[in-house]
């Protein structure tokens, strides 16, 4: 499984970013390779309009199976993500990345 997180930093201890479109970073965790990579999304966060769909497109390039975020993408971003088939899990806005991953593993999201 490849899992994407919306975050405010680049490590397991970074806080999650509850926002999707204007999240500062993505972290992508590849469970098979046990590898954590990050993507700096601050360019999209600086768009005046349309940050959501732009971020959704970027995320799609990483081809994750699951997205873990705070409270779920808005209208346009949600429409893009629906087409990609990425499973969206919400409710991790107040956690760190590590806590969010553990919560996902326990099926709490």
């Amino acid at each position: 499984m490849k899992i994407a997180f919306t975050t405010k930093g680049k490590t397991w201890d970074s806080p999650m970013d509850p926002r999707f479109g204007r999240t500062e970073y993505f972290l992508i965790y590849d469970e098979e390779k046990e590898e954590l990579t990050h993507y700096d999304n601050r360019d999209s966060a600086n768009e005046a309009h349309g940050a959501g769909p732009k971020t959704a497109q970027k995320l799609f390039e990483f081809n994750p199976d699951i997205l873990i975020t705070g409270n779920g993408p808005g209208g346009n971003a949600a429409a893009v993500l629906e087409k990609t088939g990425i499973k969206i899990l919400v409710g991790a806005g107040d956690m760190t990345v590590k806590e969010a991953y553990n919560a996902y593993k326990k099926g709490e999201l």
Binding site: A51, G70, G72, P73, G74, G91
Partner: protein, 294 residues
């Protein structure tokens, strides 16, 4: 720290009057973020001192370097917005018409055109009469609110709340369902929907709730002027029940809303009667729902 966003969909429902009242009731515990930047008016009620200000840039604007311009007119030909008129034999960009698309710069044979960042207004951090802080913004003429500006105002408010260990940020959300509203809602802990029993009040409530629902945010609703149309009030109540939205309060039509506003006061300062009590109850209700003891 909890973020409470107040939105209405339709204008004129009393959203800002209620937000300002909640800010008053919350006092020092509440940082206020005015994200209704197109028609910002919370400053009229909360007396900000504009202590810190910073320029805000959003979008781009074409700029023609006159010393490199050979006056071929190709830029004016391709501009879809007719934004490059000739003034005294010079091609000049009209800042109100230019959308910053960059087509002119692309066709210019001498590379005389560049895009510059557009200064669209200022944002402020102010001390307000509640004893707390407000983050707000003011746009220049012809500039429009954007998700980016809302995100900026909200993140500054959240930073202050975290630094000063405040319990709440309350956000006066933008109208409609567009980009600024999406940005207002993103990251919220609880949403308060303010509506009125008119056909468009109910219609816009449904429309904006559709968005709230996508974000999976818990919502409550205040029906303002609830006694002006019993039939629609019942329809709204049915909608709230069906969608599992907390019915926070029904406020009867009351001219104190307007009277308080015209002397620059919030309703809870102006009125001592049942209206103040209803608004205070609503605020306590909201606090209970977001799980923080007062």
């Amino acid at each position: 720290m909890k973020e409470i966003v107040i939105i209405s969909g339709k204008g004129g429902t009393g959203k800002t009057s209620l937000t300002a009242s909640f800010a008053m009731l919350g006092g020092k515990d509440v940082i206020v973020a005015d994200c209704d930047v197109d028609a910002a008016d919370m400053h009229l009620l909360l007396e900000p001192d504009f202590q810190d200000s910073e320029d805000f840039y959003s979008g781009e604007l074409a700029y023609i370097k006159q010393d490199q311009c050979i006056k071929c007119g190709k830029c004016a030909d391709v501009c879809r917005f007719d934004a490059i008129p000739i003034i005294n034999t010079r091609y000049i960009v009209d800042p109100l018409s230019c959308e910053g698309c960059g087509y002119c710069a692309r066709v210019c044979p001498t590379n005389a055109i560049i895009n510059k960042s557009l200064n669209v207004g200022k944002w402020y951090i102010s001390n307000i009469k509640t004893g707390s802080t407000m983050v707000h913004a003011k746009l220049g003429i012809g500039a429009d609110n954007s998700g980016k500006l809302v995100a900026k105002v909200k993140s500054e408010a959240k930073n202050i709340a975290e630094e000063e260990q405040k319990d709440f940020v309350i956000v006066d959300g933008s109208p409609g369902v567009g980009c600024p509203v999406v940005s207002s809602l993103s990251g919220a802990s609880f949403v308060v929907l303010v509506t009125e029993p008119s056909v468009s009040g109910l219609h816009d409530l449904k429309r904006v709730y559709e968005l709230v629902n996508k974000f999976n945010i818990k919502a409550g609703c205040i029906i303002n002027k609830s006694d002006i149309n019993q039939k629609v009030t019942v329809e709204i109540e049915n909608f709230l029940e069906k969608e599992n939205i907390v019915h926070l309060a029904s406020l009867p039509y009351n001219e104190d809303f307007t009277k308080a506003m015209t002397i620059g006061q919030t309703i809870v300062e102006y009125s001592n009667g049942s209206l103040k009590q209803l608004i205070t109850d609503s605020w306590n209700n909201i606090l209970n729902i977001v799980n923080i003891k007062k």
